[in-house]
Symmetry: C2
Subunit: 110 residues, 2 copies
């Protein structure tokens, strides 16, 4: 299992467009990618133009290959390029320390 945390600082005038775009990307990733197990979209309480995505994938290929070649990802990249501030995109890659405690592990198709 592979964890991707994404911190995004969004242009304040484009938050609504960003939210529409990430809604589509998150839903399509969960619906169309068997290896995308979780995709939570969070918004900072203290800095309302900061968003944190919490994504779990079956393995690294499910993210680097399947996710990034999906049609909805191309559309998402277009929205992100427009709405995210320059330098406002930070990815953190990780692994669950206790994968047996991750509920989605039971449904993991890999």
């Amino acid at each position: 299992m592979y964890t991707v945390l994404v911190n995004l600082t969004v242009r304040t005038d484009l938050v609504d467009e960003f939210v529409d775009g990430i809604r589509v990307n998150a839903a399509a990733s969960l619906r169309d990618e068997t290896g995308c197990l979780r995709f939570d979209v969070n918004r900072s309480t203290e800095r309302p133009n900061e968003f944190i995505l919490y994504e779990l994938y079956a393995d690294e290929d499910a993210f680097y290959v399947a996710h990034r070649k999906a049609p909805h990802y191309a559309e998402w990249k277009r929205v992100a390029a427009k709405c995210v501030m320059p330098g406002g995109h930070i990815n953190t890659f990780a692994h669950p320390v206790f994968p047996e405690a991750i509920p989605e592990a039971r449904a993991d198709p890999s």
Copy 2:
């Protein structure tokens, strides 16, 4: 629903003790707190002494009151004080943008 992201930089010589401590705290939080809906423990792939906790609570009280007064939290604070580097603890508070898409919302007792 209330999201708590915790970034922790751990003393490299105390990673094993930290992992034992966070295993107990995560499991007890999920088992004993009805308002703790999710508690994932992740470890950075690039910086192996950095850990990211992803916690979801039913609401703010479930975190600030129920979680912080739980007996396992006091024990966890002791472990964290010993194992986490000075200045190596950063909390980020957030809310799910699409709570209806959060699987735990269905089991949310609040």
